[in-house]
Amino acid sequence: MEDVVLWLRNVTKEYGTGRARVLAVDDVSLEVRQGEIVLVMGPSGSGKTTLLSMMGCILRPTDGNIWLRGTEVSALPEGALAHVRRRHIGFVFQSFNLLSSLSVWENVALALQIGGTRGEAGARQAKELLEAVGLGDRLDSLPADLSGGEKQRVSIARALANSPSLLIGDEPTANLDSENGRRVADMLTTLARDQGRSVVIATHDARIMDVADRVLYLVDGRLAKKPRVHQG
């Protein structure tokens, strides 16, 4: 399967031990293909964030294996994981997570800098990415002066900065009103589709279900066999 970007096999994550033990993700297996847009839905506490953290190489599974573009990442040490995140993964967070003292373009340029693109080239690419999300006229603004929708568009530009194979979005529309949420979801998926990137979005937001190629349901950490597939 040449075009499988992400492959999870029997992935389990436990937090704590003894009576405080929580089985957050329970024996999940799945694949995400290149260019595919997958939505992970489920009630609060069902393990969506935990699952995405493992896909995003931020958290290691307690059990099971994860391959990203053919490399088993579940076995890598933290230093190597940072390298994988920098090269292959883009993140869009629920609470935006922009750096408050950096301007809009600097936030994107910082991600490029972390990925090894510095100076003039970084500044130019940051501007191009921001133009693509319609923020060409807000380059020098500080995050505090942006609306929620604008902030999330900056973080989309940042997530795309190092041309990742996989975009991870944890509730990217949860802090936005429905109009902005719609716009952000469309922008994220359209850009990803144009550039052939895979996307996994965890969401509560049923209104953006139609952007997905596939919807997975998570209940108590397990994938539920709920046969509702929407074509975008």
């Binding site: 958290l59 003292s101 972390i114 970084g122």
Partner: protein
């Protein structure tokens, strides 16, 4: 290049001011303490440095250069017989209270020597000459004494104990420690004023032109009861005595330590709170692929910026405070290059230590926090 360190540091002006203030305080305090010390003690040994005598003889009984032991002044006569000696002078020194007739009383630092011997004393003579001191009961007074004595002129008399001496000239820039003006006199006059006839504190030797000083010292070591020293030896031993034998050295040391600890604490708190407050943002940097070192560099760059700015301002501040102190008190203030370098090292050390704590914080960030709402 996007500098997160610079942006963060200058974004929060209050914190920047606090961090800079801490370093500024530390450098001003350290610089002032050390500058005062060197300034003061430089004057303590200025006479040694200014004199052109190559060899000094002091009593073998001298334990402490703060109070050299007196010895019989006939030694000067013996020394003159030694081959290779061009001249030998007694040296009598003491701080002594003087009175302008009918006016203020003030201490002066009385120095008696042989005006026939070429010693480079007194220095910076403005009026009169060393030759004038050949006449008995005369002094060349430093002009700084006029602040206390009022307008004195050549030919005026001042009282020193039960003696009256005539002012035959004025020098400039000859103040002993704590701004005490020098009064230069012949050895005889000084002995008369101090009632120390027959005694001297040192014999200063002027070698013959082209004489081998080491050989001369060898020959002088035959003189009984004295130790033979170079000018540099006398300088070093006097400096040592002042640094270790007086509380001033320890006071300065304590001020330096306080400055360092205050600086360390403030910079430490500044860097640490600045890091804690942005834990989430540093976590985000790491989540999107920054290595620990990428984030350490942010902390270190902040420490470096704080250090350099704080140090620069601190040095200017210390020199300013020192100049003010010198002009208000008439006392010496000097910050040698080596001390500037030492303070830079101290500042870098304090911010380096401070940065370590912030770096530890960065290293242990739990990345899961980036997903929290």
């Amino acid at each position: 290049m996007v500098s997160v360190a610079r942006k963060n540091l200058f974004h929060d002006k209050t914190r920047l001011a606090m961090g800079l203030g801490g370093i500024l305080f530390a450098v001003v305090l350290m610089g002032f303490a050390v500058g005062m010390l060197f300034g003061t003690f430089r004057y303590a040994v200025e006479l040694v440095d200014r004199s052109t005598a190559q060899v000094w003889l002091v009593s073998q009984k001298t334990r402490d250069f703060l109070s050299p032991a007196p010895f019989p002044d006939e030694v000067a006569g013996q020394v003159r017989q030694v081959p290779g000696v061009a001249g030998a002078s007694k040296l009598i020194m003491a701080s002594y209270s003087a009175n302008a007739t009918g006016g203020q009383s003030s201490p002066v630092y009385l120095v008696g020597f042989d005006p026939e011997v070429e010693l480079g004393l007194p220095w910076d003579v403005a009026t009169g000459s060393a030759a004038d001191l050949r006449r008995d009961m005369t002094v060349i007074l430093d002009r700084s004494a006029l602040r206390e004595f009022g307008p004195l002129q050549v030919g005026d008399k001042i009282e020193m104990g039960d003696q009256v001496v005539e002012v035959v000239g004025f020098s400039r820039n000859a103040a002993w420690m704590l701004g005490m003006p020098y009064a230069f006199a012949s050895a005889q006059t000084a002995q008369a004023v101090l009632h120390s006839e027959g005694q001297t504190l040192a014999v200063l030797v002027q070698a013959e032109h082209g004489a081998d000083v080491a050989m001369l010292m060898e020959r002088l070591s035959a003189v009984e009861g004295v130790e033979v020293l170079t000018q540099q030896d006398v300088h070093d031993r006097s400096m040592d005595a002042w640094l270790t034998g007086t509380p001033v050295g320890y006071m300065s040391g304590a001020m330096v330590l306080i400055g360092f600890l205050v600086g360390l604490t403030v910079v430490g708190l500044t860097l640490y709170t600045a890091t804690v407050e942005r834990t989430r943002e540093y976590g985000v940097m790491k989540a999107i692929g920054a290595s620990n070192w990428d984030v350490y560099r942010v902390v270190l760059e902040q420490a470096a910026i704080l250090s350099m700015l704080g140090y620069g301002m601190g040095v200017l501040g210390a020199l300013g405070v020192g100049r003010l102190y010198a002009s208000l008190t008439g006392m010496g203030f000097a910050v040698p290059i080596l001390v500037l370098a030492g303070m830079l090292l101290a500042v870098l050390t304090m911010s380096g230590i401070a940065a370590l704590f912030a770096m530890r914080k960065v290293a242990t960030i739990d990345l899961a926090l980036v997903f929290k709402a």
